[in-house]
Symmetry: C2
Subunit: 275 residues, 2 copies
């Protein structure tokens, strides 16, 4: 039975990637006990087990009655893990933003989701206290247990049902994965013109910082926000031969222009033949 | 004549918006002397002049032979200012990322660009030493003077010609204005579903921080990077009734999938009728 009031639980971690690593380190730092790391790759698993000062196994059948199993593997690997744990009657959570908790039902114990909303890289420290953790338990008592564990790791813990967790994940894809893709594009544009990307880094950081104190709508700046048509047309001219850039530039610019009630549309520019 | 070796120049600032304010404060903090603030709106101008401990004027004709005039107004207001300064023979720069330095020629003295690449808000402090300043002078001697002034304010100073400055500005629009628009979208998605936007803030910040130490291409994460089709189709299903979101989601996802050599395209999903 999973007893979060104790700081010396037997928590087993399945996986040895970046989520397993950062979560494992945070759990250990909070004073809980990780009894075992399981991973298919013995090298990665051994490295994480060493970091967490615990034992390592490649055989799930050897798990010694853990209080809680945390499955921190890629979404598509979760079913295979569950298959091996079927009817073990352990308490189990996964860490995915998109997978239903119900896939864990066949383990036979309490089950739920323990989703840390952050982008983790091995070798890059994270202040886990600032990582929001979204939880969902198979019943309210297990949810409370998960909440207690989460609160021992982070200042921001919330109970989110499946649908809301998926929507949060989707919003994260827009705000973060797609933003990073815009950094890729900016890097490409600069590289092609022998301009160092480093010049943009302070602006990128400040843009992400600004919305700590302003709503994104209030924080919006730039030519489309101002309705600065001559700059927009200068930009359209610069990228006129790159359909991919043009498509993104026009989509965002028209959305922003429209949102701030400017009458111009980038299709006006095209109809002039790009002059 | 503009003498940057002295810390007691007579610098006049035209404008009283966020660029004028932050630049003025940085110039004063670096030990230079601002002799005057000009602004059409007397209230904003007076506030800035007070902050900079200098005099304020609404009449450009009263400028008392400044060593350098910094025009920090919106792009479309620059020509009006230049008209009033015509044949004054002062050294003059503007702070725009997109306007040619040639618009300043009629003032009759040295002219150039002094472009601080950052998003400024009045009332929000900025560490100006970390703001890249891009400069361009009408001749190499004036460029050197501007470089010296810029280096007294910031660790990152570069000489950039007009074309490169415009490209840098364009890249900034992609990396920052459009990223912020993705934050707007994420905020909207969450708001409609009663999920607090604050949950996303640590992820947004870490995404912007990650590219300090990794290239954006290496830092890319998410379902499209992994080729995680079931998550992508889950997302497409969630936003199927919102053409604006669908358009952005598909554009980015297909670009990312393609860039990492995954064979899937989001048009596959549509052809299945959104099931």
């Amino acid at each position: 039975m999973f007893m979060p009031e104790s700081r010396y639980q037997k928590i087993a971690i399945i996986g040895a990637g970046s989520v397993a690593t950062h979560l494992g380190l945070a759990i250990t730092a909070a004073g809980h006990h990780i009894s075992c790391v399981f991973n298919r790759s013995s090298e990665k698993g051994r490295i994480l087990a060493e970091k967490l000062d615990t034992q390592f196994t490649t055989n799930l059948k050897t798990l010694d009655s853990p209080d809680l199993i945390i499955i921190a593997v890629t979404d598509d690997a979760i079913p295979q893990v569950v298959e091996q744990l079927s009817n073990c009657f352990f308490s189990v959570v996964h860490t995915s933003g998109t997978v239903s908790k119900e896939v864990l039902k066949d383990v036979g114990g309490d089950y739920g989701v323990f989703y840390p909303l952050q982008t983790f890289s091995i070798g890059k420290d994270i202040d886990f206290a600032k990582v929001p953790i979204c939880i969902e338990g198979s019943d309210s008592s297990f949810s409370m247990n998960l909440e207690e564990l989460a609160k021992s790791l982070s200042h921001t813990v919330c109970q989110l049902d499946e649908q809301k967790r998926r929507i949060l994940h989707l919003a994260g894809v827009f705000a973060c994965n797609f933003s990073n893709w815009l950094y890729v594009i900016a890097n490409d544009i600069l590289k092609k013109n022998d301009i160092p990307f480093e010049l943009l880094l302070p602006l990128i950081q400040e843009t992400a910082m600004k919305i700590q104190s302003k709503t994104p709508l209030d924080a919006q700046t730039g030519p489309a926000r101002r309705g600065d048509i001559s700059t927009i047309e200068q930009h359209l001219f610069l990228i006129q031969n790159d359909p991919q850039l043009l498509n993104i530039y026009k989509t965002f610019t028209d959305n922003i222009l429209n949102s701030y009630s400017h009458q111009y549309s980038t299709s006006n520019f095209l109809s002039k033949g790009g002059d």
